[in-house]
Symmetry: C2
Subunit: 236 residues, 2 copies
Amino acid sequence: MSAGIPDATIARLPVYLRVLNALAESGVETVSSGALAQAAGVNSAQLRKDLSYLGSYGTRGVGYGVDYLRVQIGREVGSAHEWPVLIVGIGNLGTALANYSGFYSRGFRVVGLVDPSPQLIGREIHGLAISDLVDLEKVVRSTGAVIAVIATPAEAAQGIADRLVAAGVTSILNFAATVLGVPDGVTVRKVDLGQELHILAYHEQRKSESAAVGRKSESAAVAGKTEIRASRKGKS
Amino acid sequence: MSAGIPDATIARLPVYLRVLNALAESGVETVSSGALAQAAGVNSAQLRKDLSYLGSYGTRGVGYGVDYLRVQIGREVGSAHEWPVLIVGIGNLGTALANYSGFYSRGFRVVGLVDPSPQLIGREIHGLAISDLVDLEKVVRSTGAVIAVIATPAEAAQGIADRLVAAGVTSILNFAATVLGVPDGVTVRKVDLGQELHILAYHEQRKSESAAVGRKSESAAVAGKTEIRASRKGKS
DNA sequence: TTATGTGAAAGCGTTCACAGCC
DNA sequence: GGCTGTGAACGCTTTCACATAA
């Protein structure tokens, strides 16, 4: 069954898929959960549990068939479905997103670029012309996009979100530094580029603090959980 | 005490700070947890719990002093500390990050930009010239940066990470689509721009599936957890 | 014997609900 | 009376540990 897969797992599936693709290119035919997990940077139990949500695609005592698993994950990841995506705000970030090849390989198609700047309107990125912000609703309707990315300044974000929702968009990825209010039934995910850096800085500070303590009393610092290893994303 | 604040809380503090700054500008002197929480897009209990990690800075029956709370959060968020940050890979994403004002307001200073492209070397962003990748170690040492951002293609990321670590960097924010191996004591956080979009698409698919079911049997769809509301970030 | 698949335990983070203080 | 601060409950995620199957 493919019902109720946790968000955390959904987020990792594309990573597994990328590793599997690399393995397939190297001619590897079978892979164990341990090897796959290491390549993907996760615990092997986690990998097995993640895959178990999709079904039992491994062989006990052997491992997973690389090609078979690629197909299975691919189905879930949505190579099946091609999602048209609209990007609003074609500054540096919006341009980076429009150029981002990672979207394409996951089944996303950037079908619309919107910006209010006269210097940008009409310019093309990968053959797609930037539309005027005043035509936002028109672009949403003509492309049929239900997923949109907001990469505008914070001040503009709420107004654009309102217009997107009114035009039929039901999922928004928000890069603007503001909290968006949307009606029920619309999903918003917020990405804050500063946030991640901020968490790093916090740990960095704690590292240097405990190092300072360590100089005073060696044992105390090393005890009480050293736990400063390479960490992965929490995320959600 | 400021020991062991959860990552999730650390990630939200800057949001609170931004809201408080806006309130202060509007001349508001006191704010309740409910009002602040709403503006920040979180549950009021969550906000109170988050603030309780910093200390007891509110007044029961009254609320929080806007200015006082700004100072307290500001201390924790690191306006105290100015973090020099290095960005490697000045493509669209790297440029977007170099221009991102959100870093500055959180106490980060972009002190180095590095790229191998001859077309980019020497160009300036906000008065900071792009250095040659071959001088990476030199830049790390001269700037004293311990935090670096990797915004390069996936193939280059691991090699650059190795060089950064060897040069003394201990925290890396990785935008490249690859898992970085680093020694103990070095922290890596990975940001995958496709991942967030991917989670949105998964929910979008489930929305349309349950809508289809809804057309067949109205009650079944609405029962069993409608739970499609505006969601926030899971973080990690 | 080997490696998967999965209940059970542990760990985190969020939310509830109310005691405590102004 | 009102709002903060927080123990307890809840839910989601990760990890352990082992039964299960090749």
